[in-house]
């Protein structure tokens, strides 16, 4: 899979060893993201999953250049093979990246829309800014833009508070699509939505991906990730611990990292059994594997030495061999 993608050319987003540190009062450092490495290709959806507080939202903010002043980033995040999002200045990010090359699908669409203006006027403003459409064509273009996100024309003259949660989400998606950005970034787009609405939202995002965009979706909702993603990246305590194809992650043979397996097993449709303990503090990470304290497989090596991220996995005890010995034998 990785090979096939590299053959098609440049990934839309290529993140290499991205780290984000927060300098807190009193000189304390918080390692919010450490050595994140992944890429997203056109027409592909990568889901970044993990518990709240594991650093996934910080990662998204870093990609958009929206970190607060006390944050420091290292590494690179190259967009379209030419722009490093981490070194680009605010002017470049504002004028050529946000909206034009990265479309943001926000977490709470109702808060993302301007409350005092109708959906139509917000769509028209974005069209004017991003595509330069003017005059009589503008009205038509707004209707087309709304239709792309399945937002009904009849509701264009409504204000955000008059929309249901689902329609507000579509309005926000329509805005994100206007610049025809090759990369869509969706930060927890389904938090607090009902299951039906989650599925509709996710299916629509999938449709936009199938049109050839790359989609990076950040979520703690594993069911949503399963429905939409081609590949899954699991984040724990600021590090990506596993990247896997979605079918083999959610189906057979299942995740290789014990944390990822624990997260899946906690789902009510599976074992509904929690992972014991709680994640470590990002300000006081252990020297070894951050998951060792909660891991059934951990041994002296795990607590002493941090596993390297190699072959899309950071673990001393890849699970596949143990839990699916037959499958492994068959593959060999």
């Amino acid at each position: 899979m990785t090979d096939a993608r590299e053959n098609t050319g440049v990934p839309v987003l290529d993140v290499r060893d991205l780290s984000v540190r927060f300098r807190m009062r009193g000189g304390r450092d918080i390692a919010a993201v450490t050595d994140a490495r992944f890429s997203v290709a056109p027409g592909e959806c990568l889901a970044l999953v993990g518990e709240s507080g594991c650093g996934k939202s910080v990662l998204a903010s870093a990609l958009l250049g929206l970190l607060p002043a006390n944050a420091t980033t290292t590494g690179s995040a190259v967009l379209g093979g030419d722009t490093d999002l981490l070194t680009a200045d605010e002017r470049t990010l504002a004028r050529t990246v946000r909206g034009r090359r990265i479309g943001l699908v926000p977490q709470s669409p109702a808060a993302h829309l301007t409350p005092v203006r109708t959906v139509r006027s917000q769509l028209e403003e974005s069209l004017r800014e991003l595509t330069g459409v003017r005059g009589s064509v503008l009205r038509e273009a707004a209707v087309v833009a709304a239709a792309r996100a399945s937002f009904p024309d009849g509701h264009l003259d409504r204000y955000p508070h008059e929309l249901s949660g689902g329609l507000a989400q579509r309005a926000a998606t329509a805005l994100a699509l206007i610049g025809d950005a090759p990369l869509l970034l969706a930060d927890e787009p389904t938090t607090g939505l009902d299951r039906d609405l989650v599925e509709r939202t996710v299916d629509e995002l999938r449709r936009h991906t199938d049109e050839g965009r790359a989609l990076l979706i950040i979520t703690h909702d594993l069911a949503a990730a399963e429905r939409i993603a081609d590949r899954v990246a699991v984040m724990y305590a600021g590090r990506i611990v596993e990247i896997a194809g979605a079918p083999r992650f959610f189906g057979a043979p299942g995740p290789r990292h014990p944390y990822a397996k624990g997260l899946l097993d906690a789902l009510p449709e599976r074992d509904f059994a929690p992972i014991p303990g709680m994640p470590p503090e990002l300000g006081a990470l252990p020297d070894g594997c951050a998951f060792a304290a909660r891991c059934a497989y951990a041994d002296a090596r795990c607590t002493g030495e941090r596993p390297a991220f190699a072959a899309d996995l950071a673990c001393h005890h890849a699970l596949t061999g143990r839990t699916h010995p037959l499958k492994e034998a068959a593959d060999a």
Partner: protein
């Protein structure tokens, strides 16, 4: 290896403002607390030979129309004005917080009646109401304090009431009710502590306000007795000499009123930034 750090705009300006304000407030506090007992000088000492002297080494602020040293008069005046301001602001804050908290916590009819009374009182100009109150007593420090306190609690009551109303609908109040907390406990343990920073801010902002009010009453001859040095009295008694071109007896008491006022407002501003930070958290996890 790329590093991105953004400077927080205005941080230096804010720091300079806080340091300057704090320095002034501390200096003023020391001056009015320490100078009178230590100086052993008589602020009432009349020296008719040197009346209305311009500023000099012997009298840095000059002398007044009966030859009293103006620097000393200003320090004593500030002492009285500050005392009146502090006590009045504190009293007004206590009254306003209590009434606002009751109105907000009980809601319904209590709230409606109390807030209509507040509206009615607010519609009368403060100074007029204040004059009416001092006129009922003999001139002195306490009538002025009562007058200022009774006219200044209204805005605090409004602020506290709206804060309490917004806190009251939070789930943590529901949780307290469900946990068996009595009405009094909800107000005292959960609502009041939540509004204290706002009430404290209102109190600090009110001190200069109260000082000006006292000065205005004294200037009108309704505040402190004329022989007692207060900033208002000093400006009032110097009015005549201003027409004769003698500027110092009005300028220095005026500055003594304005500068501490601005410094207190500066400190209050810093406090406000602290309780309503523009950025909610340094870390966006």
């Amino acid at each position: 290896m790329a590093e991105t750090t953004l400077a927080l705009p205005g941080r230096t300006t804010r720091r300079v403002r806080i340091v300057t304000s704090a320095t002034i407030v501390v200096t003023v506090a020391l001056a009015v607390l320490v100078v009178p007992p230590l100086a052993q000088l008589d602020q009432q000492a009349v020296d008719l030979a040197n009346k209305l002297d311009p500023p000099s080494w012997a009298h840095p602020f000059g002398t007044d129309d009966v030859g009293r040293d103006l620097l000393l008069r200003c320090v004593y005046g500030l002492r009285v004005s500050l005392l009146v301001g502090l006590v009045a602001a504190l009293t007004a804050t206590v009254i306003g917080t209590a009434i606002g908290a009751l109105a907000g916590a009980f809601g319904g009819w209590t709230d409606r009646v109390v807030m209509r009374v507040v509206d009615a009182l607010s519609s009368v100009p403060h100074l007029l109401l204040g004059i009416f109150i001092v006129a009922m007593f003999r001139p002195g420090v306490w009538p002025v304090i009562v007058s200022v306190a009774l006219t200044h609690w209204l805005s605090t009551a409004r602020i506290v009431r709206s804060e309490v109303l917004s806190l009251r609908s939070r789930p943590f109040i529901d949780a307290a009710v469900s946990g068996g907390a009595s009405r009094t406990r909800v107000i005292v343990r959960h609502l009041l502590p939540g509004v204290l920073p706002q009430a404290g801010l209102a109190a600090v902002l009110m001190v200069p306000h109260a000082m000006w009010h006292e000065s205005a009453l004294s200037f009108l001859g309704l505040g402190l007795p004329a022989h007692q040095a207060s900033l208002g009295n000093l400006v009032q008694s110097a009015r005549g000499s201003l027409l004769a071109g003698d500027w110092w007896p009005t300028l220095f008491p005026g500055l003594f009123l304005i500068i501490p006022t601005l410094a207190l407002a500066g400190l209050a501003g810093a406090w406000r930034d602290r309780i309503n930070p523009r950025r909610k958290s340094e870390l966006m996890l």
